[in-house]
């Protein structure tokens, strides 16, 4: 059985590596193969994978992780302003600062569990938002957001051409460098920034996988199941939960740092409660506690966000043009609130629908379908189901 897990893990890792590396090719037919969106897939994938280490394993539901994302972004932009446009120091600082931040917030919030914990993290996130938005304006630039300026010191970098803001880079490569290749009629865009994010996603997915398979991960799952028993078993649960909290906070900080690396600005709205809610949704939509689920959930949400928010009434109208005229207008009027600026309404409805009908997320849904097919068409497929991204461990 243990060998089986290792095999499964190899399959899982290969799947992720192929998906990430071939994304420009795989996503182009879906109309999602452009750098900006692919970067978001990878960044939110990292964010969700990290959140899952806390929520999926320990069951502690945090509503404050957007704060760490925001802290990561601010740290990275400051690094760009003060030190260098190289993204490595920026990302390192983002991880360290968000880790420290998570340590403080986690130390206080983890004194309580369950509902209290969720409330406290939500409160701290809102506090961080308020701090960033108004109180700490000298550090965060408040409402306008923190941006690069021409007169920033950037002590390690050679001076730039006057009048032009520099771009974040990595030893001569710039994040917005893109090679476009024509492939059977499709334009494939290979972007430096995306591959930086993608490779980090692969690495961090591997880290998460190792955590899931470690004794530490087992302790975290035990916390979710029965914390009392674990205490009476001689385990001090608080450092375990705190470690999980800090690790997931560092993932979020890294995601925030990457976000700033792709587009060097940071705003307080990144820390709002809706942003925290979004990562929760990604994880439960994909399947909390599963390895592949969060990546999948992040992809689905960002893909739909992209499609929905680009839709306007003309697009919607074109769908229903085949209908009689009055009906077309009626359908447009019905669909209108859910698309374009109404994306958040759709998001809330998806949120509720997932919690009500599919608490296990897409992965569980897929498993159910595979199981159903297996039962329906003989036992041929049952052996295969173990190979699917099924292991909920």
């Amino acid at each position: 059985m243990l060998n089986n897990i290792r095999n499964n893990d190899t399959v899982l890792m290969s799947l992720i590596v192929v998906m990430v590396l071939a994304a420009p090719l795989l996503l182009a037919p879906l109309g999602a193969g452009y750098p900006d969106l692919m970067q978001r897939f990878a960044i939110f994938g990292i964010f969700a994978v990290g959140f899952n280490i806390l929520f999926g394993l320990t069951g502690y539901l945090s509503f404050g992780h957007a704060a760490f994302l925001g802290v990561g972004s601010y740290s990275a932009v400051w690094m760009f302003k003060l030190l260098s446009m190289n993204i490595i120091p920026a990302i390192i600082l983002a991880v360290i600062i968000s880790g420290l931040f998570a340590l403080i917030i986690g130390y206080v919030s983890l004194r309580r569990s369950g509902i209290y914990f969720s409330i406290l993290t939500l409160a701290f996130a809102q506090m961080s938002f308020n701090l960033a938005y108004s109180v700490l304006t000298p550090i965060t630039a408040g409402e306008t957001g923190l941006q690069l300026a021409l007169d920033d010191p950037r002590i390690l970098d050679a001076p730039y051409e006057a009048g032009q803001l520099p771009t974040p880079g990595l030893f001569g490569l710039y994040m917005n460098d893109t090679w476009t290749v024509n492939f059977i009629g499709m334009e494939l865009q290979f972007n430096v920034g995306y591959y930086v994010c993608g490779l980090l996603l692969i690495a961090l997915f591997y880290v998460a996988l190792r955590i899931f398979r470690s004794p530490f991960g087992m302790m975290l799952r035990a916390i979710k199941t029965n914390q009392t028993r674990l205490n009476y078993t001689g385990v001090n649960t608080r450092p375990y939960t705190l470690a999980a909290f800090v690790i997931s906070g560092m993932y979020a900080g890294l995601a925030g740092g990457l976000m700033a690396s792709m587009d060097p600005l940071a705003g307080a709205e990144r820390m709002q409660w809706t942003a925290s809610g979004e990562v929760v949704l990604m994880v439960i939509l994909g399947g909390a506690g599963t390895l592949l689920g969060p990546v999948l959930g992040a992809g689905v949400i960002k893909y739909f966000e992209n499609i929905f928010s680009r839709m306007n009434d003309q697009v919607v109208e074109s769908w229903f043009l085949w209908m009689p005229e009055g009906l077309t207008e009626f359908m447009v009027a019905i669909v209108h609130p859910f698309v374009g600026k109404g994306w958040h309404l759709s998001l809330g409805l998806i949120f509720m629908a997932v919690v009500i009908f599919l608490p296990g997320g897409l992965i569980e849904g897929a498993n159910r379908i595979i199981g159903w097919i297996g039962r329906r068409f003989g036992s041929k497929k049952t052996d295969k189901s173990g190979e699917a991204p099924a292991p909920a461990e």
Partner: protein, 344 residues
Amino acid sequence: MEAVLLQFMNGLDKGSAYALIALGLTLIFGTLGVVNFAHGALFMIGAFCAIVLNRIFSFSFETIDPTRTDFLGNPMKVSTPYVEKWFGTFGTSLIEYSVLWSIIFAIPVMIAVGIAMERGLIKYFYKRPHADQILVTFGLAIVLQEIIKQIFGANPIPNPAPSSFVGSVDVGVWLGMAEFTVVYPMWRLVYFVFALIVVGGVFAFLRYTTFGMVVRAGMADRETVGLLGIDIDKRFTAMFGLAAVITGVAGVMYTPILSPNYHMGMDFLVLCFVVVVVGGMGSLAGAVAAGFLLGIMQSFAAMSEVKDFLLGFSIDQVIIYLVAVVILLTRPRGLMGRKGMMEE
């Protein structure tokens, strides 16, 4: 002394709102054991009830007044609300006092919204894990907020207080101080008195009626009350309706103080969660006390003296959270929390 009194009173209106919302939150939490992340939306819906009624009353038709011209020289259009045409001066006073009429309007609306929320959604989540309850109400909060945004837009909509309550009262004079030292907006005073009446009413209701007694017993020990053959579920549904009404009318009355916008619900909810945690989860008195306490502290934190003392940082936006941290580190159960409340 006067400055301290003024800041104290400035904190009362926010404190009143916190206390009322936290009271509703605690009623639902204590009876049903559900933390309702959509509770802030009830406050917002209440506020928009006032906007809706104001719009209904102000619904007008246009006539042309030939005796007057506008600045372009065309005959001036005059819009007259229908209620004025139909009811004369009574109609005018309807518009004038629309905030107060809105309370009557909001009560059935809030009962309907509350019961729909409980029977239609939350009921199915009593036996699900707490995380699911939080998530589904969280989703509902987003949905309600976005619906309001779609209907009323993203900008705040002002709703004036009745003109007889506009302006200020010189509270200082009442207390024998010099004139113009403690001048306080009239409507805020109204709001405070209103909050006191509601809080007093709820406590009296729980204390002196059989219904209230059963609910209190249910809050203490739900299972036992269920075993006594009392249909606790129906009463809890009614309780949800009551909590919705309390929160909703708190929203109605708050409209002249804060022009309603679509995100006010969540803004207040997060603060009220902190209030509830500070007061002690499940304690009604704790919720009310902490509501006023934190509102007043917020007001003091906004004083310029405090700001100067903290080298120019204004901490009124975050003081509530800082207090919550201190309370949690020293008294993890809150000021008046009971042991064993949601601590499994």
